[in-house]
């Protein structure tokens, strides 16, 4: 068709990049976001973005970046798309540089690179410790330019409710709700790209932003979009626990030389800097001499769990270890890490330049997500595409630090192009769809809202959310036992039942955040079960998925992608082979060079 419209849901890095690419190809773009796009969760990314530019004479290359990523992901990722991403990464850095991202520079005026987890090379371009914010702003500015030209129309303050699918189950638009007026409306589109980010809220507290609920992914799942590898959840080793959120302390702190330790004697009551080096247990450096503090996140997180829970060596018996930067010159810290030091200082009132920080692992990222194909970021439903954290493609069983910004921008670019080509190739666009199709979807969503506002039960929305978060964090994060996973599945089903009796404390029709959260929570509950059931079924340990009862990776039985589908109101798990045609399988271990 001639003048297609593309809808993009989500305005973080992936959504903005998709918008830029689609607009550049001359297509009208409608961009939806719950928050003004400049406030998207991508702003929280701190440490940097990977690209093997090899500017430091180390012999780095996209091929090594590719190998590090596959190995870091414990061989669960399909290899061809990962290779394509790593090969193209240096071009994306150039593009961001041209867009004006304030990356740190070397004396020669080139971009500086630092080390990150799971690699031995300086491969991570960075803008202080606010790299995600800086890149998001650059993409936001480019989209604003298209917006000023009338090529992109933003719908900020709207939330996605469902896809509009015609009789042939082809996507013809989306149904969204204005979070001010609570109006539900259908927007026609010839293709829709979903860039709806993480799912942290399913775990109650995480390093994610408030909007990262996974609600859109779950809504799509319930409309027939498959969800892959949901059981792979990254728990970041170094976060600052807080009652409202777990605030991330970037891996870049260790990339710049930060060291993780606990007192050898857990009863040691001295101030950390009064404890001599010989009485400190630098457990990552002792256990992983080659990678030291820069082992991948799943490895570092399990090590901290072991120290705290098995060896009982947490600081003063607490669930905490030191992340120590005090040996690094202040001037270097301010130039390279100011953003995160500021966060620690502001929220805890302690200056990490002079006091070691107290940190503990926190839920951070989902490797799993919407199933997409190997070339086009296309889901199994015609006309629906996905990019960024909400899809499953690039990180296998564990994501390496600074690969997420890369996969967002790369995936957004691929999805933008592919969606435009698909839409241009359509015989009939959404303008040929009978109006009864979107009207029926709007009606269905309005009725759901009305029902939630009407029902008069005894259950408290936030209490259900808290229980969900506690169960998921306790049983479906770092260490997993089948018995507990079964109990969690039963529990979440019980929460789903209780949700039916939820009593909304706000029944107004204007800017009703309670109603919106109810809709999100309902979707979160279902996605929690997809994650839990995937974990229950997978009887092996691979990357971030660790079962003490099945401590080894089991390639003969489990080198396969979990693909969850919604069939007749039930979650069905199927499996498909992983494309490992480029890098031969080998055992993953960080105790020596890989």
């Amino acid at each position: 068709m001639k003048n297609p419209r593309v809808v993009i849901v989500g305005g973080g890095l992936a959504g903005l990049m998709a918008a830029i690419r689609a607009a550049e190809m001359g297509v009208a773009v409608d961009l939806f976001s719950i928050v003004p796009v400049k406030r998207s969760h991508s702003v929280c990314a701190q440490g940097g973005i990977n690209a093997a530019k090899n500017t430091k004479g180390e012999g780095d290359s996209p091929a090594i970046h590719f190998d590090d990523t596959i190995y870091g992901g414990d061989f669960l990722a399909n290899q061809p798309p990962v290779k394509a991403m790593c090969d193209y990464a240096p071009h994306l850095i150039d593009l961001l540089d041209r867009m004006g991202v304030m990356f740190n520079r070397t004396g020669e005026g080139l971009l500086d690179y630092r080390r990150f987890g799971g690699t031995l090379y300086h491969r991570t371009a960075f803008a202080g410790a606010t790299t995600g914010q800086q890149i998001l702003y650059a993409l936001d500015e480019q989209v604003r330019r298209f917006e000023a030209d009338g090529k992109v129309k933003k719908y900020e303050g709207w939330t996605f409710l469902s896809a509009v699918l015609d009789e042939a189950r082809v996507c013809r638009g989306i149904c969204a709700m204005d979070l001010k007026s609570m109006e539900v409306r259908a927007f026609p589109a010839d293709a829709a790209i979903f860039c709806t980010g993480g799912i942290g809220a399913i775990f109650g507290r995480s390093t994610n932003s408030v909007v990262c609920t996974g609600s859109a992914q779950s809504a799509l799942f319930q409309q027939g979009v498959d969800y892959a590898n949901g059981e792979f959840i990254q728990v970041h080793p170094t976060a600052i626990p807080g009652e409202d959120k777990l605030r991330l302390m970037s891996e870049s702190a260790r990339g710049e030389g930060g060291r993780v330790w606990v007192p050898r004697n857990p009863a040691d009551a001295r101030a950390p800097l009064d404890i001599p080096s010989s009485e400190r247990f630098y457990f990552l450096e002792e256990w992983y001499p080659k990678y030291g503090n820069l082992v991948p996140r799943d490895v570092a997180t399990r090590a901290i769990h072991k120290v705290v829970f098995e060896l009982k060596q947490g600081i003063s018996g607490e669930q905490a270890v030191y992340l120590d930067l005090t040996h690094i010159p202040k001037e270097v810290l301010d130039r390279k890490l100011e953003g995160i030091l500021e966060i620690y200082e502001r929220f805890l009132g302690v200056d990490p330049r002079v006091q070691p920080m107290k940190v503990f692992p926190g839920m951070h990222y989902t490797m799993g997500g919407i199933w997409v194909d190997n070339q086009n970021q296309a889901t199994n439903v015609a006309g629906i595409y996905a990019a960024g954290e909400c899809e499953y493609q690039y990180h296998g069983a564990n994501r390496l630090g600074a690969n997420s910004l890369l996969s967002c921008i790369w995936g957004g670019r691929v999805a933008g192009q592919a969606a435009v080509k698909y839409a241009q190739g359509l015989q009939d666009g959404s303008d040929a769809t009978p109006s009864s199709v979107p009207e029926a979807e709007v009606k269905r969503q309005q009725e759901r809202n009305a029902q939630l506002l009407r029902q008069d039960g005894t259950e408290n929305l936030l209490a259900i959310w808290k229980e969900l978060g506690n169960w998921m964090t306790e049983h479906v994060t770092v260490v997993r036992y089948n018995k507990n996973l079964e109990r969690t599945e039963t529990k979440v089903q019980e929460l789903q039942d209780r949700f039916k009796k939820v009593n909304l404390s706000d029944r107004t029709q204007w800017s009703n955040q309670t109603l919106n959260f109810a809709r999100e929570l309902e979707n979160m509950l279902l996605l929690a079960r997809v994650i839990t059931l995937g974990a229950l079924a997978r009887n092996e340990s691979r990357g971030a998925h660790y079962k003490p009862d099945f401590p080894e990776r089991d390639d003969p039985n489990w080198l396969k992608t979990t693909r969850a589908s919604w069939r007749d109101g039930k979650i069905e798990l199927n499996y498909e082979p992983v494309d490992v045609g480029l890098i031969p399988l080998r055992k993953r271990s960080y105790t020596a060079t890989k």
Partner: protein, 250 residues
Amino acid sequence: MAEKKSIIVRVKRQAAPKEKPLWEEFELAWRPHMNVIICLRDIAENPVTCDGKRTTPISYDSNCLEEVCGSCAMVINGRARMACSALVDSFEQPLRLEPMSKFPVVRDLAVDRSIIFENLKRVKAWIPIDGTYDIGEGPRMSPDEQERAYPLSRCITCGNCLEVCPQVNERSDFIGAAIISQVRFFNMHPTGKMHARERLEAVMGPGGVADCANAQNCVKTCPKGIPLTESIAEVNRQAIRRAVTGLLFG
């Protein structure tokens, strides 16, 4: 063991843009490291006022909760700031929460700050790249230049600098410090400066940089410590230079 403490939070509420505001008071159980967001969540879980009246949860904007997204700006004990980093223990009781006054209220503490994003369009706050194609690296930049520009690019568009500015009021459409600082930022960049003239012209008319009356409240309130007054002075210099050049050479 310390006795169980509680805190009092007073919230200025407004059901919709045209409704009358009213105050409600809540008593919450104190916990260590409590911030204003935790208070608002406590209220949402059990929205009952001090007089035992059932009410609705409070509407407010929030997202990252680590002071980098710019969402949760509000007026706390009379001062514009971010709710997430507002630690309850550092404030006098009772805690008073109000919406920002320089933006239209949507509901309760949530306000509409879209004017700031509109103004970013007006000053063309972007680097006009030719396209996303592979056309090589960006311009080189010295570490010094990067270190001068980087702090300016950390603006989170929270709007606090507008809230505290006496020049931003019903009778004036002063564009405000954040936007002027963005003009300076883009005019510093090797590619951005090729289009400096357009940006300067956008802040030379009514409501532009000349409307700054030098109260300097902006720089004191900025949560990111951006040197806003320096930016205003610099853009003012550039604008005057541009005006003189315009007079002489058109």
